[in-house]
Amino acid sequence: MKIEGKVWKFGDDIDTDLIIPARFLNVSDGAELAKSCFADLRPDFAKSVSSGDIIVAGRNFGCGSSREHAPLAIKEAGIALIIAESFARIFYRNAFNIGLPLIESQDAAKELSDGDEACVELSTGIIERVRDVKRFEGNAIPLFMAELIGAGGLVEYTRKKKMRQ
């Protein structure tokens, strides 16, 4: 599956309070949460993201709270993929559970810049910067996580698995 969009660049240790501040957690609707995504860090983000855009970040993306509102807000804002040097573990699970793919790539995280157009093939983890066709390798998405994404998330995966039993 191919994803192509604009890069939104972030640094290290982007925590869940930055992604969706607690004052917005009195709702659980994705579309509503999306409006407040990165409200304090990048107030222009929510209204400017286009469907298919990509977040590129440094180490430990999504650290902090287990709030699923964080990947949900990002996904509902239109982001189709997050590339980072590394991900915090609860965020990692949550993202795949709701069908938002993540790729780890140190090179891409370092070299891609805000505003770059990038093209990514999920099955191989190959990331390409469109303007100069420079390619970066990402870690292939682990098989189990690929199955979750393929099924459409944890609920669908669980339903299909139970049906097979």
Binding site: D13, D15, D17, L18, P21, A22, R23, L25, N26, V27, S28, D40, L41, R59, N60, C63, G64, S65, S66, R67, E68, H69, P71, L72, S86, A88, R89, I90, R93, N94, N97, I98, F144, G153, L154, V155, T158, R159
Partner: protein, 419 residues
Amino acid sequence: MPMTMTEKILARHAGLDTVAPGDLIEVKVDRTLANDITAPIAIKVFRETGVKGVFDRDRVTLVADHFVPNKDIASAQQVKLMRDFAREHNITHYYEGGESGIEHVILPEKGLVLPGEVIIGADSHTCTYGALGAFSTGVGSTDLGVTMATGEIWLKVPPTIRVIIKGTRRPYVGGKDLILYLIGMIGVEGALYSALEFTGDTISGLTMSHRLTMANMAIEAGGKNGIFEPDEATFSFLKAKMPVTPAVLKSDPDARYERVIEIDATAVAPQVAFPHSPANVRDLSQVGTVEIDQAFIGSCTNGSLEDLRDAAAILKGRRAAKGLRLIVIPGSPLIYKQAIQEGIVETLLDAGAVIGPPCCGPCLGGHMGILAEGERAVATTNRNFIGRMGHPRSEVYLSNPAVAAASAVLGKIGGPDDL
């Protein structure tokens, strides 16, 4: 094959003889937990699974603690959603109002966590229960919703980092300082995906309150779980709550560890985590002059009776500095009552403290003590990311209760020795 405590608990719950780090396993869960913020999505997901009833109405736990007493209309709706679900499914352990407190405080208090169990919670500080020798970890609402239906969860077996702490603690140094010291050493992803297993004579000498504080913050180093071997202190804490003495699962002497970290407790001073990371840690003596507007004592990290006693011992006969807001929130109704009985609440009120109902309060920027632009707080909480307690241009400094109390009197960050 020799296994660590975490590996043994997981193997047992997966029906396997042995597991190794990296294994993907399906584990039967002893208890699930969600709160008023995370339950709404979990309930929606539960309904999407199509399963008629929860896996066990005695094992699904729902606690209203984050935005309660109901913070605003939207929060009231979320609590109502959770309450209605609890009624619909006859959930035994649903807590709100005068029965509720901070989830990670009331579960151990009520004997709902036992050594050797697997607890999954839709809250990152679910790792707290590792203090009792359980395997306990935080997950998101989708995981929780599916587990409420199936009673199982898929997990990747974590490698274990062994943390050996030896030596006599210095005055005013407790679990909070030891864990901040460790996080300062290894960083906010120093224990990523790993179990943090605590041992050593310093650890054996800690009361349950201090162990709960340490396990609570395993997540701040990126850890999957924190864990302590159950001992006399554990069984003493649980005494009335256990029907039988559970089989104690200990790490094998030749178990394999990812890494071993040794800490000399005699070298650990009271710690303060500066904005904006729990890893941005300094010795109290290195703080310099940091004037503060608020001191908050409470949270799942340091909201126990012992924590309140420590704070009261400093505040007795003293007053919070002029203009400084001192806010104290006991972790549970029982703790609140005991604090009243011991005269602690009177001491706090005489010191000028605002006493809040047992809940998470300002810890995550909810209510009951939010910071304005440019304000600074010292707090006994677990996180101080940008905007954590209010305005993005406010600052939070993390500390233990004695330091927070002394700072309240001083009007700036300092310790009992500065009074």
